[in-house]
C-alpha cells in the first residue's frame, strides 16, 4: 500500500470509518495473535473457532478469558509505547491514525492507534471487536471493546448509553489499551478492564461506539488492506514483520509419534544408502518421488520416522487410526513447515484444494531456491491411509516436482496406492530379502539379553542363533510381529508352547491371540470383549471409554476392563480435560479384524451409526 498516510475525520458522522483501520489478516497482527495462540487455545488459521461456537462452548467467561489472554500477551511480550495525540488536527477534525502494522513497527501509537491494534487482534482471533470513542470538552479518549454475547438488538453504531447497557448486561468487555504499553510499571492487568469500565460509566463522558464487524458487513466501509511486502518494503522481517514464525503454531507436532515409532530402532542402513544413492544421481533423477513400499507392519512408518529424526526432513504422517488423513491437515502442516524452516515471505497456508498443487509446488520451489542446490526432502508416511479424491493423487500431490525437490513417501504395495507422477523411484521393503532379514536379526539380537527372553530360551534349550533364525522365518520379516511376539515372550506368554509352536506371520499371531482370549470365556468374550475391541477398530479416531460404552450398550467399567486387557493392541492419547482416549495401535490389527472377525467391521460401524441416528429426533433408526 502506498500514498498519503490514512486519516480519519473523528466525529460521529464519520464514526463508522474507523472500522477501515481495523485490519484482519495483517501479518503483524497475525504474528501477535499467533504468539498468544497457546493462551487463546486457538490458531489464527483454520481452527475450529468461531464466535458462535465459543459462545456455545464456554460462554462469556471463555470469551473474556480469550480477550484477557490477548491483552496479557500484548502487555508481556511487546515493547509498545503510548504517544499523546499529536495527530489530531483541531481545525479540520481530521485525526491521523495509523494502521496496526505501523503501530507495531513504530512501537508507539495514540490511544486510537492502540485501540485499533487491539481490535485488529480481536478480529484476527475471531472475537467481536467494538470501537468505543469517549468525548468531553477539552479532550477525548478511545477504548477497545469485545462482544461477549451476540447483541440483543444488534446495531452498527451505538450510543454511549447503549454501551453502558451492554456493560451492565455483561454483553461487552471494554479495554483501556494504554494499559498494555510500557511506561506504566506495576499496573495490574485487570486494572485496564476496570478503568475502562469506570471511564465509560463516568457521567462526564459522552461518546459513541462502532460494532466493527457489522460495519464491515454493511459494505460501505471495508478494512484497509493488510500491510505486506512487496507493497510496503519497510514491512520486511527486519522491521518486525511479516514473520514466517507466525505460522509455527500451524505445524503439526509429530515428535511424540516419531519417538514412539523409532523406539528400539535398529538397522535399515541399506535403505538409507539406497535413498542417498538415488538422490546423489541428480543427472538421472533431478527431482521426484521415492516410493517406499511394504506390507503393513514391515516398518515403513518406523523408517520414515527415523529419516525425519536423523535428518530433520520436512514431514507429514498420515495416521488413519488417529483420523489424520486429510488433504487439509497435510497441506497446512507441510506448507507451514516450509514457510517457517526456509523463512519464506508468506503469512498463510493454502485452504483451497483446487489451488493446492500449485501452491505447494510454489512453496517447494521457493524453499528449494534457498537450499542453493542442496536437495530438499519431504517425507510423507502412509499414502495408503491418506484421503484421495477420484482421479487425483493421494493428498492431491503434484504430478511433477521442481528441480532438487524429492518426496519420500511410504505406502502399501499395489497400484491403487501409487501416485501418478512424472518421476518416481521405488524402494521395496521385502520381508524375505537378505537386507530385511539382517535387520530382523539385529532387532532380535538387541532383545536377547532381556531376562524374560533368556528364561524362555533356557527353558527350551534354545540357542540365541537358533531363536533368531526361527523368528526370522516366523515373522516373515515383519517388525510388528516381532514387536508383539517378543513382548509376549518377555511377559511370560507362550509358556506352554515349544519354539515350533510360535505363530507364523503377523496375521497368525493376531488370530491365535484372538482365539486365546476367547477361550478364557467365550460368552463374555463375544458379549463384551469383541464389541469393544471391534468398535475401537471401527472408530475413525481415538474415543473415550464412555463413548464406547454408549455405542455398545455396555457398562463403562466393562469397557475399562477390556481396554486394560487389550492395552498392548491399543494406543492411548489424551482428549479434552486430559481424558484418556483409545484407538487400535496398528492398522494391521484393524485389517485382521475387518477381514477375519467381522467383514468390513460392518456390525460395528452399524452399532455406531444406529446409536447416533437414534439420537436425532424424527429420524428412523437406521436400517432394519
Amino acid at each position: 500500500m502506498s500514498g498519503p498516510p490514512p486519516v480519519w475525520v473523528n466525529d460521529r458522522e464519520h464514526a463508522r470509518d474507523v472500522a477501515r483501520f481495523v485490519i484482519e489478516g495483517d501479518p503483524y497482527v497475525n504474528h501477535l495473535v499467533a504468539g498468544a495462540a497457546d493462551e487463546l487455545r486457538i490458531l489464527t488459521h483454520y481452527e475450529h473457532w468461531s464466535f458462535a461456537s465459543a459462545v456455545a462452548d464456554g460462554g462469556r467467561e471463555a470469551l473474556a478469558a480469550a480477550v484477557e489472554a490477548l491483552y496479557l500477551h500484548l502487555m508481556a511480550d511487546h515493547q509498545l509505547f503510548y504517544e499523546f495525540e499529536l495527530a489530531y488536527d483541531v481545525a479540520t477534525g481530521e485525526q491521523r491514525v495509523q494502521l496496526p502494522a505501523v503501530t507495531v513497527r513504530e512501537r508507539k501509537g495514540t490511544c486510537i492507534d492502540l485501540a485499533l491494534l487491539f481490535l485488529s487482534a480481536l478480529a484476527q482471533a475471531k472475537l467481536a471487536p467494538v470501537y468505543v470513542q469517549l468525548n468531553r470538552p477539552g479532550g477525548g479518549h478511545a477504548l477497545a471493546a469485545a462482544g461477549l454475547a451476540p447483541p440483543a438488538k444488534p446495531k452498527e453504531l451505538l450510543t454511549l448509553e447503549e454501551v453502558r447497557d451492554h456493560l451492565k448486561e455483561d454483553r461487552l468487555l471494554v479495554v483501556e489499551c494504554t494499559g498494555f504499553v510500557q511506561g506504566t510499571p506495576g499496573r495490574q492487568h485487570r486494572v485496564p478492564f476496570r478503568e475502562a469500565r469506570e471511564l465509560v460509566e463516568g457521567p462526564s463522558w459522552a461518546g459513541w461506539a462502532v460494532d466493527v464487524h457489522r460495519t464491515w458487513e454493511g459494505k460501505e466501509v471495508t478494512p484497509l488492506p493488510p500491510c505486506a511486502p512487496p507493497e510496503q518494503p519497510w514491512a520486511g522481517r527486519a522491521a518486525g514483520g511479516p514473520d514466517p514464525n507466525a505460522l509455527r503454531a500451524a505445524v503439526r507436532p509429530f515428535a511424540a509419534y516419531i519417538r514412539e515409532k523409532t523406539r528400539d530402532f535398529v538397522g535399515r542402513e541399506w535403505a538409507f544408502r539406497a535413498i542417498d544413492r538415488l538422490l546423489g544421481d541428480r543427472a538421472r533423477f533431478p527431482s521426484g518421488y521415492v516410493l517406499i513400499t511394504g506390507e503393513p507392519g514391515i516398518g515403513k512408518s518406523a523408517l520414515a520416522a527415523r529419516l525425519v529424526q536423523e535428518r530433520g526432513y520436512v514431514h507429514h504422517f498420515n495416521i488413519a487410526v488417529e483420523g489424520v488423513r486429510s488433504w487439509r491437515e497435510f497441506a497446512t502442516n507441510v506448507c507451514a513447515q516450509l514457510i517457517v524452516r526456509y523463512q519464506l515471505p508468506r503469512n498463510w497456508v493454502p485452504n483451497d484444494k483446487s489451488t493446492n498443487p500449485v501452491t505447494l509446488k510454489e512453496l517447494l520451489q521457493e524453499a528449494a531456491d534457498r537450499r542453493k542446490g542442496e536437495p530438499l526432502m519431504v517425507v510423507i508416511d502412509a499414502l495408503d491411509e491418506a484421503e484421495r479424491e477420484e482421479g487425483a493423487n493421494p493428498l492431491s500431490l503434484p504430478f511433477a516436482l521442481p528441480d532438487g525437490v524429492y518426496v519420500v513417501a511410504t505406502t502399501r504395495p499395489g497400484d491403487e496406492y501409487r501416485p501418478s507422477v512424472s518421476s518416481m523411484e521405488e524402494l521395496a521393503l521385502d520381508g524375505t530379502s537378505e537386507d530385511n532379514r539382517r535387520d530382523v536379526r539385529a532387532h532380535v539380537a538387541a532383545r536377547l539379553p532381556r531376562p524374560g527372553i533368556r528364561a524362555w530360551l533356557r527353558a527350551r534349550s534354545l540357542g540365541s542363533e537358533q531363536f533368531t533364525e526361527l523368528l526370522c522365518d516366523r515373522s516373515q520379516g515383519n517388525f510388528m510381529y516381532l514387536h508383539f511376539v517378543l513382548r509376549a515372550i518377555e511377559a511370560g506368554e507362550f509358556q506352554e508352547e515349544g519354539p515350533e509352536a510360535l505363530p507364523r506371520g503377523l496375521r497368525d499371531y493376531y488370530r491365535r491371540h484372538w482365539e486365546k482370549m476367547r477361550r478364557r470365556g467365550r460368552r463374555r468374550f463375544d458379549q463384551v470383549y469383541r464389541p469393544v475391541v471391534c468398535v475401537l477398530a471401527a472408530a475413525r479416531e481415538a474415543v473415550s471409554e464412555e463413548q464406547v460404552a454408549e455405542w455398545t450398550g455396555l457398562e463403562e467399567g466393562q469397557v475399562h476392563q477390556v481396554v486394560q486387557d487389550w492395552r498392548e493392541f491399543l494406543h492411548q492419547e489424551r482428549g479434552e480435560g486430559r481424558r484418556p482416549l483409545y484407538r487400535v495401535y496398528h492398522a494391521s490389527f484393524r485389517d485382521y479384524l475387518q477381514e477375519e472377525v467381522d467383514p468390513g467391521l460392518k456390525t460395528y460401524h452399524a452399532l455406531i451409526a444406529r446409536s447416533a441416528l437414534r439420537k436425532v429426533r424424527g429420524r428412523k433408526e437406521g436400517r432394519a
Partner: protein
C-alpha cells in the same frame, strides 16, 4: 426447540457420514447431509471445509443407481465451499459470494433444497460473515423472497 443433531457427540457429528458411507447406507447418508439441522450443528463445531470434503467423498462414494444423488451433494458442497471462502474474508470475498449466487441459480433442479438450507442457516447461525453470504445466495436463488430473506437477515442483526 433445540436442534436434534445437537444431541450427537462431537465424534458422531464429525464421523457419522463416514460410517454411513462404510455401511453403504446411502439413503441415511443423503438424509443426513441434506438435513439443515445436521449442517447447522456441524458447522457450529467443525470447520466448513471438513463438511465440504464430506460432500465430496459422499458424492464419489455413492454407487450408481437408486440412492445415488451426487448432484445434491455437489451443490451443497459447492454452496458451503463458497460460504467458506466468504467466511475467510479474503480479498476475493465479494467475488466469491457473487460467484456463488450466480452458480447457485444455475442449479435449478436443486433449488428447493438449497433454499431450505439457506433459510435454516439464516435462522440458526450467528457468524455474521456467513450470514451475509447466505443472504446473498438466498436472494439469488429466490428473488421473490428477497424481502423475507432481508427480514431474516436483519432480525439477526445484519445490515444490508
Amino acid at each position: 426447540v433445540s436442534n436434534p443433531c445437537a444431541a450427537l457427540t462431537k465424534y458422531e457429528l464429525r464421523h457419522l457420514p463416514a460410517h454411513l458411507t462404510d455401511l453403504g447406507w446411502w439413503e441415511d447418508l443423503r438424509g443426513m447431509l441434506s438435513d439443515p439441522n445436521y449442517v447447522v450443528a456441524r458447522v457450529a463445531v467443525f470447520p466448513l471445509a471438513e463438511l465440504v470434503a464430506c460432500y465430496r467423498t459422499a458424492g464419489t462414494s455413492c454407487p450408481a443407481g437408486p440412492g445415488r444423488d451426487d448432484a445434491v451433494f455437489r451443490c451443497y458442497g459447492q454452496t458451503l465451499s463458497r460460504l467458506l471462502a466468504y467466511q475467510a474474508r479474503t480479498a476475493e470475498d465479494h467475488e466469491a459470494v457473487l460467484d456463488l449466487a450466480e452458480h447457485a441459480v444455475t442449479l435449478d433442479r436443486r433449488r428447493p433444497e438449497l433454499v431450505d438450507l439457506c433459510r435454516a442457516l439464516l435462522e440458526s447461525l450467528d457468524d455474521w460473515n456467513v450470514l451475509y453470504g447466505v443472504y446473498e445466495v438466498l436472494t439469488a436463488l429466490d428473488p421473490a423472497d428477497e424481502s423475507g430473506a432481508m427480514a431474516s437477515f436483519r432480525r439477526k442483526g445484519g445490515a444490508v
